[in-house]
């Protein structure tokens, strides 16, 4: 695997720069088609590093499709086709010769419905490492513990790592999925409505976690919940009918939206 090290020099330097908001994901005139139907129209946006960017918009506006384009999960959908450019750390994801498997290791994903494997808690977190060829017990143990700690789950599961992941509660399962994604040490974490199936307390835990994680990861989160976007994100992008309507700092989007559509949506006039 030649493109295994998806980290380019630019990203390393910007990581060392720390607080500066370097661009992590650069999107230029991105179009997405399902067969004949054009689902995304000329998306342009820059997602800053180590911040939380929220995608909001009514159902079917293309925000999830766009999110899944960032780790090329849409490749498995028949008839899907893209135009334009998405670059992560300056490297075009859709350039010919990109190793999709290596790419997905660098860009983790958490899904709407928690989907732990029917394996033990330990094996769920270790999965990404094992397929990467890591079999050293010490390394695995350390990574599993570190990932579970980062996902704020370690304290609850440390005594039953060999118990089934399916015996955890819904909120715990979702945090396990986050730990699983973190274990392969991605640069970007994509979250597709990660709390939509959870109760308020579990949701709060996920939100706190997202806030914690942004010091180490670039996070993109799709959400239906406007308050959630306002609470967790630094920047917000509002999508409608496959178009990016407005993209700005979250405070600006919610306090002083420039577009009438945005204002109507966030004040609940439709959606």
């Amino acid at each position: 695997m030649t493109t295994m090290d998806f980290v380019s020099p630019t990203s390393v330097s910007s990581r060392m720069a720390g607080e500066t908001t370097a661009t992590k994901i650069e999107v230029r005139d991105f179009n997405f088609y399902y067969g004949d139907a054009k689902v995304l129209h000329g998306i342009d946006l820059d997602i800053p590093e180590k911040q939380v960017t929220a995608f909001i918009g009514p159902s079917g506006c293309g925000k999830s499709t766009f999110l899944r384009s960032i780790n090329r999960m849409n490749d498995i959908i028949p008839g899907a086709r893209v135009e334009g450019r998405i670059a992560v750390s300056g490297r075009d994801l859709y350039a010919p010769g990109v190793d999709v498997v290596a790419l997905r290791r660098r860009i983790g994903m958490v899904f709407q419905k928690s989907n732990p494997f029917p394996k033990s808690i330990y094996e769920n977190v270790a999965y990404g490492l094992r397929i990467g060829g890591e079999n050293d017990k010490r390394t695995l143990d350390e990574t599993v513990e570190r990932s579970l700690q980062r996902a704020a789950l370690w304290g609850e599961v440390k005594d039953r790592l060999n118990g089934s992941a399916l015996s955890l509660s819904g909120g715990q399962q979702q945090r396990l999925c986050i730990a699983r994604a973190l274990a392969v040490d991605p640069e970007v974490l994509l979250m597709d409505e990660p709390a939509s199936a959870l109760d308020p307390i579990a949701t709060q835990k996920i939100e706190e976690l997202v806030y914690e994680l942004k010091s180490n990861y670039t996070i993109v989160i799709v959400t239906h919940n406007m308050q959630q976007a306002a609470r967790v994100s630094d920047r917000t992008a509002f999508f409608m009918l496959g178009k990016l309507v407005e993209y700005n700092e979250t405070r600006a989007i919610f306090m002083t939206p420039k577009e009438k559509l945005t204002e109507d949506y966030i004040t609940g006039r439709f959606g």
């Binding site: 067969g35 028949p78 498997v101 997905r104 983790g108 989907n115 494997f117």
Partner: protein, 335 residues
């Protein structure tokens, strides 16, 4: 005056009761048939099954002695058949379910036709081609399941023995010598494997379908390849279903006689098969021989009952093993 609707209601209620009674009757009839068959065999068969019966070969023109070579032959045949049928069947099902286009031939072809002038057209063409291959394979499997078992026997004789076996002989044996070009354990197992294949394929595909798409996506999103996802997530998740299907297919194959009639089963052998090129005795075939070829019908009857009982017991044991394996894997997988 009562409305017609009221009269209708009363009739419908009676009809309902009659139908329930008819359904109950059919259940009773089926149970009765089962009890009579099993009861008869167990009643007459169980006392024949002695240590000697199980460990001795037949004697005095099949009117005395045991059925040991038939038990060993059946076991060897079933084992060899599983080795051929299960990997082939599981591989076919994995290909059909995991690698061919999920949208089916119709849609894949429509997408290709609509893609004129668009990039990626070549990919859509191969997708449609792959969907066509899947459709052909599936209908072949379905038709294979409907072929009478005696036809499998004839096919085995013609294809495996006459064609493949003879070809191997011509290439490897001295002129006039026959080693592969005759009935044997190997060719009988291959023939029987063909018969079992549809069951294994259909059951495996069914089992693969039960693995949620979510899990495949989770694995792919962690940077697993398609094959790693199949090996680590899909196959372990569908193992109980695959095992059940395999064992059901095998236990059906174990009792079949027609496919092995011309491909390797022997009337009587004083020795046990020591090689896949040897002929063998078989419980089902032995039943046929005992009931049609015996010089002394009365003397053979108890042996016949004993043989049928053993065959039935082995099949039952196989099914039971399947159920137990499935329950154990299931409880291991789900908390």
């Amino acid at each position: 005056m009562p409305t017609p609707a009221f009269i209708g209601r009363g009739n419908r209620r009676i009809l309902d009761k009659v139908l329930i009674a008819l359904l109950a009757l059919s259940v009773v009839i089926i149970l009765a048939i089962l009890v009579v068959i099993i009861g008869n065999i167990v009643f007459h068969g169980v006392r024949q099954v002695t240590w000697e019966f199980i460990t001795q070969p037949p004697r005095e023109g099949l009117t005395a002695g045991g059925i040991m070579p038939a038990i060993v032959g059946t076991a060897a045949l079933v084992l060899l058949m599983s080795v051929v049928a299960v990997p082939l069947g599981v591989a076919t099902a994995v290909y059909l379910h995991e690698y061919t286009p999920a949208e089916g031939l119709h849609l894949a072809w429509a997408r290709f036709r609509k893609s004129k002038g668009l990039p990626g057209r070549k990919r859509l063409f191969f997708r449609a081609l792959s969907a066509l291959l899947a459709t052909i394979t599936r209908s072949a499997v379905a038709n294979l399941a409907g072929v009478p078992s005696i036809v499998f026997g004839l096919f085995g004789l013609g294809f495996f023995i006459q064609f493949i076996g003879r070809s191997i002989d011509r290439a490897t044996q001295p002129v006039g010598e026959t080693l592969w070009g005759q009935g044997s354990l190997l060719w009988a197992a291959c023939t029987l494997a063909l018969l079992t294949l549809p069951t294994v394929i259909v059951a495996t595909e069914e089992a693969l379908r039960t693995v949620p798409q979510d899990l495949r996506e989770a694995s792919l999103a962690l940077g697993a390849t398609r094959w790693e996802t199949i090996r680590r997530i899909v196959l372990p998740g569908s193992l109980p279903g695959i095992l059940t299907g395999a064992i059901l297919g095998i236990s059906r194959g174990a009792g079949e006689v027609a496919p092995i009639l011309f491909t390797g089963a022997a009337y009587y052998l004083p020795f046990l098969p020591g090689d896949v090129t040897d002929q063998f005795m078989h419980l089902g075939y032995h039943v046929l021989i005992l009931s049609t070829q015996s010089p002394d019908v009365e003397a053979t009857k108890p042996i016949l009952y004993g043989t049928v009982f053993v065959l039935l017991a082995l099949t039952f044991l196989l099914n039971l093993t399947g159920v137990i394996i499935r329950m154990r894997t299931r409880s291991r997988l789900q908390r």
